[in-house]
């Protein structure tokens, strides 16, 4: 009887997959269709990363000017400590905002998630889709934020000092720009971990019952 059952089970395989390229396509489509909503979700990231990038760039502007003319800056350094506190808090708020937005998005899409599971999606397919979505939003949002912060810091520097563009250590400044984009992407994914896992764990029958 047992071997009989084992034989029958041989007919049941375990290969189910979701290639990355398809996962990206699906995630991208989900973002596009809810474009304005994605913008609102991204607004938090944009602001937080713009602030981060502003402070970092302002630091490089000062250092550049200082290197060119030793007497130019005196009070910049002590201001920076409090600024980093503010940055930490704004990033935290941003993560909480993303978690909240993703939780809402999961609730809104119960039926869609349930349907995917009925079509054979494994739990981690669903997790993957939500994480990719968060990552795309995070990267695009932080890119925008980083550019805004960078530009603002350079413009602000130009109103205070002369020759900012010439003295700015461009390599280092651009590196910190890239870093802030990475920070935004990572934080966005971190914020989405809990909602994505919740979506993944949902039993298909429950998901289908929920009326929305």
């Amino acid at each position: 009887m047992l071997s009989q059952d084992a034989k029958k089970r041989a007919g049941i395989k375990r290969q189910i997959r979701l290639p990355n390229s398809e996962a990206f396509k699906i995630a991208l489509r989900s973002i596009k269709i809810r474009f304005w909503r994605s913008i609102v979700t991204m607004a938090g990231i944009i602001l937080a990363i713009a602030f981060l990038s502003y402070v970092m760039t302002a630091g490089w502007v000062e250092r550049g000017v200082q290197a060119a003319d030793e007497t130019a800056v005196r009070d910049g350094v002590q201001a920076r400590a409090t600024q980093f506190w503010l940055i930490g808090i704004s990033l935290l708020v941003c993560v909480v905002g993303i978690t909240n937005a993703m939780l809402m998005s999961v609730t809104e899409r119960y039926r869609e998630i349930g349907t995917m599971k009925c079509l054979g999606a494994l739990d981690w397919f669903v997790v993957k889709l939500f994480l990719i979505e968060a990552m795309l939003q995070g990267v695009v949002g932080s890119l925008a934020g980083a550019c805004i912060g960078f530009t603002a810091a350079v413009l602000a520097g130009m109103t205070q000092y002369d020759g900012v563009l010439g003295s700015l250590p461009w390599g280092a400044a651009l590196l910190s720009l890239t870093a802030s984009v990475a920070v935004g992407g990572v934080l966005s994914v971190l914020g989405a971990v809990y909602p994505a896992r919740r979506a993944g764990k949902m039993p298909p029958a429950d998901a289908m019952r929920t009326e929305i």
Binding site: K8, I12, K13, R14, S30
Partner: protein
């Protein structure tokens, strides 16, 4: 019983053994299924009928591997599905069973074509092959000219056709339908029923459909009547004629 199973592998597409489902609701437990035994042969067209709340959808979930029974066993192609792990269960849902729902349940952000390709992508087909096959299936259900439309740009009947095409994506042995005509008008409902019947005849797919829709009776091989979480009676179509006129709760 054991000999029958050994002798004729896969004679039964679905078998349930004393399936009980209880829902815990606070302190109370609600017994939605109270011991269901049914045997459904491969290639049959089965309707599950019964009043609202009798447990049709619950049974649908059990048979489809979407939920686990509290007691009892469900066999799909003679394999006890309670013994399957998450990967095998996903494989079963993907390859062996096609689902059709009352609310169509297409993915709203995807076109008709993309909706149909999704199960094939999960099954490991290349995108191009999946698209070709999906286009063929959509043509089969009479939507060959609408493959690029999103669900919201389609009528209810058309959406349900897409759902039928999607259910067929991986050539399942069984199609499970929970009130497939519940949200459709008389004529469109009839078309979907005829479509299911045709698929049943041409492809030999076993069709199991929970329904209130009396139009379904004409095409079903057998009707399983459920009442209060129990099988009330099981009738073959030829035994039926007398009954239809005297049905209670006939809807418009």
């Amino acid at each position: 019983m054991a000999e029958v199973a050994t002798g004729l592998a896969h004679e039964y597409a679905v078998k349930t053994l004393n399936v009980v489902k209880e829902y815990e609701m606070g302190k109370q437990t609600l017994r939605a299924l109270k011991g269901i035994d049914v045997e459904i042969r491969s290639g049959e067209y089965i309707s599950i009928m019964g009043p609202s709340g009798s447990g049709k959808s619950t049974l649908f979930n059990m048979i489809g591997g979407l939920d686990k029974p509290t007691e009892g066993k469900v066999y799909i192609d003679e394999v006890d599905i309670s013994g399957l792990d998450a990967y095998e269960l996903a494989w079963l849902r993907c390859r062996k069973i096609g689902y059709i729902f009352q609310t169509f349940n297409l993915i709203p952000v995807m076109t008709a074509l993309e909706n149909c390709t999704l199960p094939m992508i999960f099954a490991g087909m290349t995108t191009q092959d999946a698209m070709d096959k999906a286009a063929g299936l959509l043509a089969l259900v009479g939507l060959g000219d609408r493959i690029r439309h999103k669900p919201l740009e389609l009528s209810g009947g058309q959406q349900q056709r897409v759902a039928c095409a999607r259910a067929l994506a991986n050539d399942p042995a069984i199609i499970l339908a929970d009130e497939p005509t519940g949200n459709l008008d008389l004529k469109t409902g009839k078309e979907i029923i005829e479509l299911l019947r045709r698929l049943n005849k041409e492809k030999g797919v076993t069709i199991i459909s929970a329904t209130h829709d009396l139009k379904m009776l004409d095409v079903s091989d057998r009707i399983i009547w459920i009442r209060d979480g129990m099988v009330d009676k099981i009738e073959r179509r030829d035994e039926l004629d007398i009954e239809v006129g005297t049905l209670e709760g006939e809807e418009a």
